[in-house]
Symmetry: C2
DNA sequence: TCTGATGATACCTGTCAGGTATCAATCCAT
DNA sequence: ATGGATTGATACCTGACAGGTATCATCAGA
């Protein structure tokens, strides 16, 4: 049996007249007669009762009509869905995220993707950087987000977003009068380090920055969250280096200053995916990611 | 798109190798290559990633695979179901029944039909004889059962079952010594008539029998149910003419005797259906009905 | 009885599915 | 490196068959 048989059958079942059905199918009447006869032979049952003033469905014909309409509908849906899948408009995007990475750029990105591809399901999996690489290789996730930038041959690492670091300091601090501050100017300053006890974070970058400027980090306090860190700055405990996003946290007595350096120190949010991944959903996602304007 | 495309696609998606898939389909490899290319053109999307050591499904291909398998499954089911419908193995049989008619032959018949055609749903509608004819014409029922035998040009009436009438009488009655009794012998006997107040019943037949034998019915009591009638016979009120089925009701002092006549008087259970009804379910039902041995 | 509508049949033709032969690309064993 | 084996793609031919035209048989209705 071929879909042609079903298409012809449905047309005839709806018109109940060979001539009209044939016209609707843009063929002549004899081929339609033959195809219907053939279908009846394939099924092994008479589907129509013919008379000189039209045709009528048999019980078997009525049964097949319902089935045929469902099948033809499914074929249409299958064509559309397959096309959509090819264009990345349906399916699922599995995203590996690394804890705090979700706080900055990513929500906007996912929101934009969801708006443009509403039929793509987005699944988020919190996992470490090592787990992300592994999960990518095992096809458990399609993209991973991470701050770190490792280099693996089969995994592409693409920078999504660069967020400069800023220095938070008390308004009474002498350096507060400057628009921007050099790292060398703060090497001896009492430092509030955040976050603490986290395996990989920009805290390491901050310490390295100071060391490479020839200083010895003078950590007076380690805290787990950025709010506490800034509160300590407000109280005059010391200064704190944070991502720029934290500067939206306005506490009395705290001001934020850019770091004067070339290139400016900052943290990079990177996106990881398989080098040979041809998935149209990934393509669509990367496309949006690359086009998304910075906040 | 044709089912051929889907069949070939599924074979290739499962084998992931043109040569093997072609062998499975009993065709050679080049036509398969061409049909798959054609399908990709119809869908407007690449379905396979080819390499020199086999093929791999794309995202679109994976989507289509699921759809195609469902569609091909449905086609198979549609063929089977249509064939079954043609053979009367699925569908519904709507039966009109007339009150007490259900008590005798019909349960056995319906049970036998259900055993042979378990996938046919049986619906019973109690209705009068007039309603049955009407319901048949309106295609609300497929068969009706009735005691009466009207003659309508478009409705076929077929006798299902003939049940002889028997005479119930007290063991002390003089006629009780005979094996069988003539109608002429009971024309003057006190008669217990049952059922009463029923529009169409064998009670009329009983009265007509007596009248045509030259008697005047001597009705001493009318009762609504057969148990009361037989109880009155046991008490010696009179005799009663009942369908043979009632003789299973054994009360002390009551004996049943056949009626000697040619043809023997009795009641006919008839089956009604539309003369032009070609429904295979009806055909199957009538077939079973005609073959069913008497109780 | 004639007419117009219906579906079926006979026969022709062009398309296309499927065949064979062969190629190009890649991998693997030597 | 290199030849053989394996993969999918291409070129070209052929036969089956879908679809065309012409026509028939049947039957309802005027």
């Amino acid at each position: 049996m071929e879909l042609r048989h079903l298409r012809y059958f449905v047309a005839l079942a709806e018109e109940l007249n060979f001539g009209r059905a044939a016209a609707r199918l843009h063929i002549s009447q004899p081929p339609l007669t033959r195809q219907i006869q053939q279908l009846e032979e394939i099924i092994g049952a008479r589907l129509f009762l013919r008379s000189t003033r039209g045709v009528e469905l048999t019980t078997a014909g009525k049964t097949l009509l319902a089935e045929a309409q469902r099948i033809l509908g499914m074929v249409k849906v299958a064509e559309e869905r397959t096309g959509k899948a090819a264009r990345g408009q349906i399916g699922r995007l599995d995203v590996g995220i690394f804890g705090s990475a979700i706080l900055n750029h990513i929500p906007r990105l996912l929101l934009e993707f969801r708006n443009q591809y509403p039929e793509v399901e987005i699944a988020l999996y919190p996992m470490t950087k090592a787990e992300q690489t592994e999960a990518l290789r095992a096809h458990q996730i399609t993209v991973g987000f991470n701050r770190h930038v490792p280099t693996e041959p089969d995994i592409v690492v693409e920078t999504v977003h660069f967020e400069p670091l800023v220095i938070a300091l008390n308004r009474k601090h002498p350096l507060a009068r400057q628009k921007s501050i050099r790292i060398t100017e703060i090497v001896d300053e009492p430092l509030i380090l955040y976050p603490r006890n986290t395996r990989v974070s920009f805290a390491h970058d901050v310490l390295n920055l100071i060391r490479s400027a020839g200083g010895v980090p003078n950590v007076v306090q380690e805290v787990t969250d950025v709010v506490t860190a800034i509160a300590l700055v407000a109280s005059g405990f010391g200064i704190c280096v944070t991502p720029q996003a934290a500067s939206s946290l306005k506490l009395p007595g705290v001001i934020y200053r850019q770091i004067k350096a070339d290139p400016p120190p900052g943290i990079e949010l990177a996106c990881l995916y398989r080098r040979n991944d041809e998935s149209p959903i990934l393509g669509a996602f990367l496309d949006i990611m690359r086009r998304l304007p910075p906040a």
